[in-house]
């Protein structure tokens, strides 16, 4: 399999965690989204939307959208299962995953921040406030969901799920942007624990072949 990925795209990072957890061999092809490579004609044939990541599976089919890719991987390579079968646990996992993937990530990604700067001419400090505001609203919500799920080392239950695959990249992004994360002890515990696991280490931005040193 091949993954079109950008080292610090958090959607790519989610999929890399899932691939590593499942022990799937794959080749990384870096798509530099800062330089606009996601809009090159050759890439758009695989991903007509022009976003990363895209998985090319072992029969050559292309799949976009990180959560669709992880759902696909979970069905083809069920060990370890990232989406529980039991309906109540599954609903908890998905609720947390979507609270991150729908409510936090999309409003703070690169294209939005660029629009704020380029089209709305907001100042650097207004842009930072925007970012910090949606991280705060979003992680406060996730922290409350983790109280409900009675999280420990993982968001739900005693093993990694899709929710952790979403939380760790989001947390890493917020850290990198200098957000105050002291109000989310449940998130922090999960981040610290998961980052000791080989799959999460292998998937981290700094360990990717296409890393661009800061």
């Amino acid at each position: 399999m091949k993954l079109f990925s950008f080292f610090n795209s958090s959607a790519s990072y989610r999929v890399r965690i899932a691939l590593a957890l499942k022990g799937i061999d794959y080749q990384t092809e870096g798509i530099n989204i800062r330089a606009g490579e996601q809009y090159h004609a050759e890439y758009l044939q695989h991903n007509p939307v022009g976003v990363v990541p895209t998985l090319i599976d072992d029969s050559g089919d292309a799949i976009g959208q990180s959560l669709a890719i992880i759902d696909y991987l979970d069905r083809r390579f069920p060990a370890p299962l990232l989406l529980p079968q039991e309906v109540s646990l599954r609903a908890q996992v998905l609720e947390i995953a979507f609270a991150i993937a729908c409510d936090i990530h999309p409003v703070n990604n690169m294209r939005i921040l660029r629009y704020l700067t380029d089209e709305l001419q907001v100042s650097e400090s207004q842009k930072k406030s925007w970012y910090a505001h949606w991280v705060k609203v979003g992680l406060s919500a996730v922290e409350r969901l983790l109280e409900q799920s009675n999280s420990g080392n993982y968001c739900v239950g005693e093993q990694v799920t899709l929710a952790d695959c979403c939380l760790i990249p989001q947390w890493a992004n917020a850290l990198r942007m200098g957000c105050d994360l002291s109000d989310y002890p449940r998130c922090q515990r999960i981040y610290q624990h998961c980052n000791t696991l080989p799959a999460f280490i292998a998937a981290a931005p700094e360990n990717q072949p296409d890393v661009i040193p800061a």
Copy 2:
């Protein structure tokens, strides 16, 4: 079952379509998000995030996030199945659903538009341009995905899926906001067809008990 819903919240609308397709009896409890009712203490007990919709199932458990609710309903009430079991079709359905639910809806919902006005003091015309821009970027992407899936009356295959449950509310929102939708003939065909089906009619904003006349 009970659904906490707001008549023209498109996330609520998605779930109403799924409930109607599956013929599930439920009671609607309107949460007026314009008036901030999603932040009332009583509602936050069901939905700690403070968003609509929330489903209270027949054992009294609360589930938030529209796509998590539909996944849950699909497992408990599989007829008609909105998420295909076959891996390739399923990936196509999810890719389209997430292209709407992650890439379009979150950047144009009420809280974002209010932040633009209240915090960034953007003009009414800049706010309209923002809205139209993300609709254009997003629906162009969906239209290209529909070319790949060879859509007809539905996004994928010959029956309603989760992708249609996401597309119709998004399209209705864009229409309501006066966006130019002439460039998306595949989306338009699906919208026109689905709106002839009883479940989509029953789920429409104007047919909800909590409707607020324009």
